[in-house]
């Protein structure tokens, strides 16, 4: 599982960080950091998928393994 961030779009509103803080982190310059390796935990992965569909500006794309 890999996350691709559309940097043109991402505005750092942090919705993803609210749902899966283990994977997403918005810094105070509103820049989104995404974890390189996402653990194989099904519960966490379900939340990561939810983060992707919850992004209000659709800046996240998910590539499944």
């Amino acid at each position: 599982m890999k996350i691709i961030v559309d940097r043109q779009r991402c505005d750092g509103n942090g919705v993803c960080m609210g749902i899966a803080p283990e994977v997403f982190d918005v810094d105070d310059d509103l820049y989104l950091h995404v974890a390189e390796n996402i653990p194989e935990d099904p519960e966490l992965r379900a939340r990561v998928r939810q983060s992707v569909t919850s992004c209000p500006i659709l800046a996240l794309k998910l590539v499944e393994d």
Binding site: G12, G18, D27, D28, L30, T53, P56
Partner: protein, 400 residues
């Protein structure tokens, strides 16, 4: 329904419905899922309507949520509005008279914009709730109108900021003497007033629109309660919203400013659940009934209601879970990232934090010594940390 396939109806095509359907197609593949939506569009992003879309920074196709993935052979989409609910016969009647029987129902019909009577049906006057509203407003910006914004809430302030960003002349009329009073609990005092004034919005506070003057059926000016007249060619109205529950009248379902649900998002009738802007549920984090009209809530709540519904449909009790959530929303105005976490209603103390080198103010709301909410400008890490802190403290208190 011995041997027959169960049918689950999801009513509502916005995010809560989308998120519920996404969950249900995978969780209950043996059931037939009928998704009823009055929208003629695919599910789209609503937060972008007043911001990126209004500023023409993105286009219509960019607002659409990705397709629901996986095997969709058990899903049927019906593009009609719900007209009524019969809980005795377990049927939903659509606006064309068709009746759809259900075993389980998930109500996610959202909320609609409130429109003051004297502004209804007037040319050049628009609410902002749907994509069609946003398209209509955007189209009328071509003539570079002088814009009047009615209401200093989230929609009003975001629209004012977007219109100013486009270089239009903007007047905002608000009946209170503060902006964003309800969403931010008045914590930031004059911060929002200064922000909008500095960006050139003509703020008219403590004022109400009393009359509309027309020219050829279109708005030409509005008159305020004190007699002042403001010329305008475009009026955008952010006067709040109300839950879409008219179709539930007479159904026997308990409705009180939203469909009343327990902490599992179950309504007063068995097998009927609700989620999103239309649902008033008991949030275990606060042990309070609340109705939250924000994007992240619709997403998480749609998913949670779907899981609880699936538990009731299949008997798989491991899916059943109360929906305990610290609400979150944000706003963008003139590039400022304004965020709110928690539920500030009923606070008895606000702590304002404004150090000289901080990018913006930060406020913490307390009730009986416990932090219940926090808001900040351009400090997402701190705000999100406080969101987790509020949740952890609530769980610790529950366990104690």
């Amino acid at each position: 329904m011995g041997g027959m396939r169960q049918r689950i109806v999801v009513a509502g095509g916005s995010l809560a419905g989308h998120s519920a359907v996404t969950e249900l197609v995978g969780l209950v593949p043996e059931a037939e899922i009928v998704w009823v939506t009055g929208e003629q569009h695919r599910t789209y992003s609503k937060p972008a309507l007043s911001k990126e879309f209004m500023q023409a920074r993105n286009e219509l196709s960019e607002l659409m949520l990705p397709d629901i993935g996986g095997d969709l052979s058990n899903l049927r989409i019906v593009r009609r509005s719900c007209a009524s609910l019969d809980t005795a016969n377990r049927t939903v009647t659509l606006d064309d008279g068709e009746k759809i029987a259900f075993d389980q129902l998930l109500i996610a019909t959202g909320a609609q914009a409130r429109m003051p009577g004297m502004l209804r049906g007037v040319g050049g006057v628009f609410p902002l709730r749907t994509l069609d509203d946003a398209v209509a407003i955007r189209e009328s910006l071509a003539g570079r109108p002088k814009v009047l914004v009615v209401g200093g809430g989230l929609i009003g302030c975001e629209l004012a900021a977007s219109m100013r960003t486009l270089g239009l002349e903007v007047t905002l009329v608000e009946r209170l003497d503060t902006l964003l009073d309800r969403p931010f609990g008045g914590a930031f005092g004059s911060y929002f007033l200064d922000l909008h004034r500095a960006n050139g919005v003509d703020l008219v506070m403590d004022a109400m629109v009393e009359r509309v003057s027309l020219n050829d059926g279109r708005v030409a000016a509005v008159e305020l309660a004190d007699g002042a007249k403001i010329e305008t060619q475009l009026v955008v109205v952010g006067a709040g919203s109300e839950p879409c529950t008219q179709w539930l009248e007479g159904s026997g379902l308990i409705v009180a400013d939203g469909v009343v649900c327990d902490s599992y998002l179950a309504t007063s009738m068995p097998g009927i659940f609700a989620a999103g802007d239309v649902a008033r549920w008991t949030n275990p984090i606060y042990d309070l009934q609340m109705r939250v009209e924000h994007w992240t809530n619709a997403s998480a709540q749609g998913r949670a209601a779907a899981r609880n519904l699936a538990a009731s449909a299949t008997g798989r009790q491991e899916l059943r879970k109360p929906f305990a959530d610290v609400p979150y929303f944000w706003s963008d105005q003139y590039g400022q990232k304004i965020q709110m976490v928690g539920w500030h209603q009923g606070h008895d103390r606000v702590e304002l934090d404004r150090s000289a080198d901080a990018p913006g103010p930060l406020a913490r709301f307390y009730r009986d010594g416990r932090m219940i909410a926090a808001a900040g400008v351009n400090v997402p890490r701190i705000v999100m940390r406080l969101r987790r802190q509020i949740e952890e403290e609530a769980r610790a208190q529950e366990a104690a």
